[in-house]
Amino acid sequence: MLNRNVNYKVPRNLLVLFELMALLLLFIYDKDNLDKTTFISGISLIFTIYISNFILLRISTGDNYIFLIVTMLISIGIIMIYRIDKTIGMKQVIWVGMGIIVFFITYFIIKKIKGWKDWILVYGIVSIVLFILTLLLGTRTKGSINWISIGRFSFQPTEIIKLLMIFLIGSYYTNYEKYKEKKYGSYYLMGIIYVFIGFLFIQKDLGTVLIFYTIFITLQFIYEEDRKLILYNLLFFIVSGLAGFFMFDHVRIRFETWINPWAYIDNKGYQITQSLFAIAEGGFFGTGIGLGHPDFIPEVHTDFIFSAICEEMGIFTGIGIIMLFLILVYRGFKIAISQQDKFFRIVALGISILFGIQAFIIFGGVLKMIPLTGITIPFVSYGGSSMLSSFIALGILQVASEELDLEEVQNE
């Protein structure tokens, strides 16, 4: 009988064990310049994660797995990032700390404030404002304009817009009956989403276009009653894919280097082939942390962190990460299915699809299974805005996993 009680502690303790061992290993690795701050921040991160898992079990009546899974992913990511570059690793520790705080803040805000489903206009307007700001203030990296820098701090507005879009779709389908009565009501949503996609095209951020499309099409598939709209959407998807291919050089290059990267190994195929070398070199168990050469891959700490993990921790760890994501997505869907509130059900689905598709696109990309698009792995790659927005999404998902106030349901 007691056994059941202990259950939750098993993964939690495994996680702590994993983190402590990793910390020890990283210290031996870096023993020449041990310093106190690194040590303290490492320990406090482990403590924060443990406590957060613990607190969450007390305050939330909802799901207890998603946060646990995410913290495991984060731990693997940080170990790798720290091993590649100490300073970036330290920054990532801070981002994770902030992310956890943001998670709890999001959790409380989303839970306390009612009426999320009615603010469709807010979501739309804020998104468009953010898009315009990006175009005005944005800086260009890797061929796309998607960063805004304010002082030393820079962030990617599309990270936030992704979530706003999910809210927007959620609120649209929650109030579906209302819109359906209006003339052309069913085209409202498509219209606004295509405005978003148009903006992304201007920014040349094709990876994000793909994510937006996937979320939109799948949610439409589940909730749209006018089935021919889905067909239109798919057609548009193909057309804009082709348009992207012919309009943008960097899309064409990505495609060519996917078909045969070896022909362009000196230049445009360099990154992907280096990634393949790393994965091949790792084998099933990896070379061991610190014993491989993931630093040969350009941008290894963001887009290519998965290749680095495969090289040093083996493809068994790689498969482990893929499975963790799969469980995370599965839990997200489970949450959606048990959620009675339609708005949060849609939002939970949207977020799960977001996590899933984002992970799939980049995993498939670095493996050369699909063409490479430069996006980050949620929770694993280095990156402030990606980390924070992923934690916001997770906070929302946590709320969605709870039995929400029933009065609201009755008003439906």
Partner: protein
């Protein structure tokens, strides 16, 4: 179940399939692709070991050093003792240009990098490995030098091997290059239209011409109901297309043996229609055509696409080694070997032994039968016919006094307008010690006139000097 739930589950299943396919692809990549990918010379990891480990030497079958490394300051420098002679066997290993040949295929052996098992890794940490293994080749340095000397000034390839053990004694492909002066020659080599980097012996695909008739002959021997008699008029019409004998010469009344001895095109063209493409194709398959030959160097597949929809003229020209048939010299020497070795085709071997820095043999390649080409009886019959070819037919220039030589010549028409001159054969016919294939690319001469004498000289030299 309501519609919404059903659709949610469809989406969930879709995502699950995506993720599972990731896992499957990753495992597939690791199991089947990783080894090849790792070897790519752009993989910088290969060079990291290079700087710490003395690369092993490469020696010939008698212990002559062909390539070795020496410490040069902090790093090691590679020396190739015989310049062009081994360019297509040993290849080269340079940071700037990568690796090819045995330097690439046996990179891990030469650097003594063991497979990554936990035990090996631990061992490597406790006692770091500083010296690589030595490769002992089956090549006989003298014969290799002699073969290249005979081919010099021409394009083409010579492969000589032991038909019973599969050991390759010499393998030459011209034009070649000098691995020692790669830096200076690189641009010239890259612009050379004759592609010096191509190892013609293993990867050059040639029209075989009449040497392919040995395959057709075996197919004929295995078709008992075939009428082996024929009246040759110097040419024959198949489906309205005229096939001529060499020089339009009419051979008169011929049987199978006479047809092979005189290399009668009309005979094989006519009979092949009756034998059928599938029978010829099946024999070809047994002699490794359409099969990939596993070798210590990468090989190209010879091809006779008999499974395609071939017309009568296609079959007829294939039977005399024209048209859609393409072979590598290595494959042709295997065919000669197979016939000499009582019908059994053995795996060609280039690396005889791997010797550890301490001098012990850690791996020895042994003889391996890879295909049953023909039964003993058929092999004996075709061998006797090939002996006749050399005794009184097109191959007389290959005959050796006091030794029964079996062989077949070939003069292959090709798109360049200048024919390839071929000779394949083995000696002594009843207990062969050496099998050979010679091809002179776009030489414009007949195989009997130019290729056969070269083969003869090499066979004599091999019989006299090579120690088994």
């Amino acid at each position: 179940m309501n519609k919404e739930l059903k659709r949610i589950i469809i989406v969930l299943v879709g995502i699950c399939i995506l993720f599972v396919s990731l896992i499957v692809y990753l495992s597939y990549f690791q199991v089947f692709k990783a080894e090849i990918v790792k070897k790519n010379s752009y993989n910088k990891r290969l060079w990291i070991n290079e700087e710490k480990i003395l690369r092993g030497s490469i020696i010939d079958r008698n212990g002559k050093i062909l390539a070795y490394s020496e410490k040069n300051g902090e790093t090691y420098k590679r020396f190739y003792n015989y310049g062009n002679l081994y360019s297509h066997i040993i290849g080269y290993s340079y940071r700037e240009y990568g690796k090819v040949g045995l330097e690439l295929e046996y990179n891990n052996t030469l650097l003594n990098i063991s497979e990554s098992t936990p035990l090996n890794e631990l061992k490597n940490i406790v006692i770091p490995n500083t010296e690589g293994n030595t490769l002992k080749l089956t090549i006989d340095h003298h014969l290799q030098e002699y073969s290249r000397e005979l081919l010099k000034g021409r394009k083409g390839s010579i492969v000589a091997m032991n038909p019973k053990t599969g050991e390759v004694y010499s393998m030459v492909s011209l034009p070649d290059f000098n691995p020692s002066s790669l830096k200076e020659d690189w641009n010239n080599i890259m612009e050379d239209g004759d592609s010096p980097f191509l190892n013609r012996a293993t990867s050059g695909l040639y029209t075989p011409g009449s040497v392919f008739k040995v395959i057709s002959t075996i197919a004929a021997l295995e078709t008992p109901e075939l009428n082996k008699q024929y009246e040759c008029k110097g040419s024959t019409k198949i489906d309205g297309y005229t096939l001529e004998d060499y020089g339009g010469k009419a051979h008169g009344k011929v049987d199978l043996e006479e047809a092979l001895v005189k290399s009668c095109n009309s005979y094989f063209a006519e009979k092949s229609i009756i034998i059928g493409k599938d029978k010829i194709g099946e024999v070809a398959d047994r002699f490794m055509i359409n099969k990939s030959i596993s070798f210590d160097l990468p090989t190209k597949k010879s091809s006779f696409p008999y499974k395609e929809n071939l017309g009568k003229t296609d079959i007829a020209s294939a039977s005399i080694g024209q048209g859609k048939v393409l072979v590598t010299p290595l494959n042709m020497v295997l065919i000669a070997s197979g016939i000499g070795n009582k019908g059994q085709v053995v795996k060609p071997i280039l690396v005889k032994e791997t010797i550890s820095p301490e001098g012990t043999v850690i791996k020895a390649n042994s003889t391996q039968v890879i295909s049953d080409g023909a039964d003993v009886f058929t092999a004996n019959e075709i061998k006797n016919m090939m002996v006749e070819v050399v005794k009184r037919g097109t191959g007389t220039n290959a005959s050796i006094k006091g030794v029964r030589v079996a062989g077949k010549t070939g003069t292959a028409e090709n798109s360049s307008g200048k024919s390839h001159a071929w000779f394949i054969g083995f000696a002594p016919a009843d207990d062969p010690k050496i099998a050979i294939a010679v091809v002179l690319e776009e030489d414009g001469t007949t195989g009997g006139k130019t290729a056969a004498p070269i083969a003869r000289k090499i066979m004599i030299e091999a019989l006299n000097t090579v120690k088994e």
